[in-house]
């Protein structure tokens, strides 16, 4: 996983914001290295992570695959059919959306990297380095820190140490993250 950010997509309203979302959906956008992980694997995680026969009635919080091209659309549809089989329902009964992504609008900065504000020195360093919201949202380092410090998921210690070493964090922050990350 190279980068993640949250935002709004799938609708038609121009210039959506959190307070004026229109017909868009809150979504996560994931940049990934296709030589390290396949789109199909991400789809599998997605289908395994929710119950596809029910969708909340509100467009803002819809379960959906937002495809970027026809190949992704095809894979989303084929994995949907597999998910329906697992759930014991017809593919026609799946309520999870499969829609073109359209324009993806970055959410407000305070929605990005949600775990980091409670780690004040990390927050200050990243805000100084990347004062613009889009830069911060596009930072692999910020994405990693958000996962290491906020996900509660165990990190591979060797990968963690290698990535921290290559990240460019000041030594004091590297030490802090190594102490706080779950391993």
């Amino acid at each position: 996983m190279l980068r993640t950010r949250v935002g709004y997509c799938g609708g038609t309203k121009q210039g959506p914001t959190y307070r004026a979302l229109g017909d868009h959906t809150e979504a996560i956008s994931i940049d990934f290295d296709p030589t390290a992980i396949r789109y199909e694997d991400l789809l599998q995680q997605f289908w395994d992570g929710h119950y596809c026969a029910r969708n909340i009635g509100k467009r803002q919080y819809m379960n959906a695959v937002f495809h970027h091209d026809d190949h992704q659309k095809h894979l989303a549809e084929s994995t949907r059919d597999q998910a329906a089989g697992k759930a014991g329902i017809s593919p026609h009964s799946v309520e999870t959306g499969i829609l073109p992504v359209g324009t993806f609008t970055y959410a407000e900065a305070y929605h990005q990297k949600y775990a980091l504000p409670s780690h004040h020195e990390v927050r200050a360093f990243l805000s100084d380095t990347y004062p613009k919201g889009k830069e911060l949202a596009d930072s692999t380092v910020a994405t990693r820190l958000n996962a290491w410090l906020g996900s509660g998921l165990a990190c591979d210690p060797m990968v963690l140490e290698q990535e921290i070493e290559s990240s460019g964090l000041p030594e004091s922050l590297s030490t802090y993250v190594l102490a706080k990350a779950v391993r």
Partner: protein, 43 residues
């Protein structure tokens, strides 16, 4: 800026497929990698 509260008059950007963060070494190296994007609504 990372924060808990909205910034006044913040202009939201749209995705253009170009990673914009490259000041830190890991960001610089990752911004040069070929990538694909997956997007999901998570309910």
């Amino acid at each position: 800026m990372i924060g808990l509260n909205p910034l006044p008059n913040e202009t939201l950007e749209v995705a253009d497929g170009i990673p914009s963060a490259a000041k830190l070494p890991l960001d610089n190296s990752s911004s040069r990698l070929a990538f694909q994007t997956a997007t999901f609504g998570l309910g």
